[in-house]
Symmetry: C2
C-alpha cells in the first residue's frame, strides 16, 4: 500500500511549501509507485539515464562521484524530501551516483512522463527549477568550504548544515538527530583524509560543540558551532516538494 500524496507526511512539515489541491492531484498522477530499498543499495549511477526519478520519503542516502583512480567525492547527503534524478530528467545523464545509506522509501516517478508533466504544470515546473537552483546554491557553499575553510571549519560547517536540515525535518529531538553516516563519508565530502576527519571531530568534541557516536549526532551549541564554521545565518527557507 503506497502513501497517497494527499496523505504525504512530508508535505505537512512547515519546511515545505503549501500545495494546492490541484497540485497534489497532479503529483499523485505523476507518481507511479513506491520503492523500498535496503541500506547500501545504489539508486542511480553517474552517467546513467535512469527511467525513474525519485523523491526520498523516508531514510537517508548520499550522492557521490567517483574518480578514475578510485577517489570518491561525496557531493551531498540525501534527506527526506529530496528529489533524486533531476539531472537525469533535465539533461539525460546523472552527474553523480546516489545510494541509500539507511533503508529508504522512495516515491517513484516515470521519467518518460517528465516532459509532459513539466509542460502542463508550470507551477510544478517552476518548483523543479527552484530545486535545481537550491542545489546549485548549496554546491557553491560546499565549494567555498572545500576551497577556503580549514578542516575544523569545514567539519563544523558540514555538521551545522545537516543539523539545520534535520531541525526543519523534525529529525531533531533535544539536540539529537539520527546521523547514520560513516566518518569516511564526511571525509569524502570535505576532501579530507579519514584520519584527519577523525582527529578534527575529536577536537570539536573536546570543545564541547558536538558529539557524534552510534549513528547519532548531538549538537550541544548550534550557535557556537556555526561561529566556528563561519556561517553567518541559518535561516529557514521553505522549499517545494516534488
Amino acid at each position: 500500500m503506497t502513501t497517497k500524496c494527499a496523505d504525504c507526511p512530508l508535505r505537512r512539515q512547515e519546511l515545505f511549501d503549501r500545495m494546492t489541491e490541484d497540485e497534489v492531484r497532479v503529483m499523485q498522477r505523476f507518481k507511479v509507485g513506491e520503492l523500498k530499498v535496503d541500506s547500501g543499495t545504489p539508486l542511480l549511477m553517474e552517467g546513467s539515464n535512469s527511467p525513474q526519478l525519485f523523491t526520498a520519503l523516508r531514510g537517508m542516502g548520499l550522492r557521490s562521484k567517483l574518480l578514475s583512480d578510485g577517489r570518491r567525492q561525496v557531493v551531498n547527503l540525501v534527506l527526506p524530501g529530496d528529489f533524486i534524478g533531476l539531472q537525469a530528467a533535465l539533461m539525460s545523464e546523472m552527474g553523480h551516483s546516489v545510494e541509500a545509506t539507511t533503508a529508504m522509501t522512495l516515491c517513484v516517478f516515470d521519467r518518460s512522463e517528465f516532459w509532459s508533466f513539466f509542460r502542463d504544470n508550470p507551477r510544478r515546473a517552476f518548483a523543479i527549477s527552484w530545486l535545481a537552483a537550491v542545489e546549485e546554491h548549496f554546491l557553491g557553499d560546499a565549494l567555498t568550504t572545500l576551497g577556503q575553510r580549514t578542516a575544523l571549519q569545514a567539519v563544523a560547517w558540514a555538521l551545522i548544515k545537516v543539523f539545520s536540515r534535520g531541525q526543519h525535518l523534525d529529525l531533531v529531538h533535544k539536540n539529537r538527530m539520527p546521523f547514520p553516516y560513516r566518518q569516511q563519508d564526511i571525509a569524502d565530502a570535505l576532501g579530507l583524509s579519514l584520519v584527519h576527519t577523525n582527529r578534527t571531530l575529536k577536537q570539536l568534541r573536546e570543545r564541547q560543540l558536538v558529539s557524534w557516536q552510534d549513528g547519532e549526532l548531538v549538537v550541544i551549541d548550534p550557535q557556537k558551532l556555526a561561529d566556528v564554521a563561519m556561517v553567518e545565518s541559518i535561516e529557514l527557507v521553505t522549499r517545494p516538494l516534488v
Copy 2:
C-alpha cells in the same frame, strides 16, 4: 542599437541548440535592452535580489562568493552565452556575486516578467532548468576537483575546462584563446594560494602542456593536459541559449 535576437551571433554557433522562430520571437519580447559595462564592474551581488537578469553576449566575467574574513571563492567563470541571475530569478537571492573581468555586453531581461515568461513558454522554461542542471553538474565536478585532485591536476582541470568551452565558442584559434583572468582568480577558484598556483603553472609550462601569458592561453596538447587532469571525456553537449 541593440542586437536583435534574430541576428544573435551566439545562436549561430553549433554549441547552442537550434531555436524555433517562435522561440526567438519570445526571447526578443523578453529582452528589454542591452548593457555595456567596463572591466571590473560588479553585475550582481551575493544576496541581492536583482530586478534584472542577463545573458553574456560578449566579454568574460566571474562568479564568486566572499567569506566574512575576506577569503574569496571563485565559483565559475562567465563566458559568452552564460545566463546570469538564474538564482535571483528562481529563488530570489543570488548565492554568489558576478563581476565583469573584461568589458562586457549583456542582454538584459526583466525579472518581473520572468514568471509569466516561464509559465507561458514551457520549452524555454525547460531550457532554463536545463541550464540550472548543467551548472549543478559543473559544480559537482569542481567540488571533486577541490576535494580530490592535487594542485597540478586541479590547475590542469581548470585550464582544460575553459579551453574546451573556448573551443565550442570559437574563441580558440590555433590552440590559442583569450584568457583575461589573473592568477589570483584561478587560485581562488581552486582553493590554492597564489604562490602555489604560480609554481604549478610553471610546472605545466615546463612540461610543455600549456602556456599562459599576456591574457592568452595556449594549450599545446589538449589530450595530454586532460590526462594530467584525469578528465575522461571532453565531449560537446549542445546547450540552450536564453
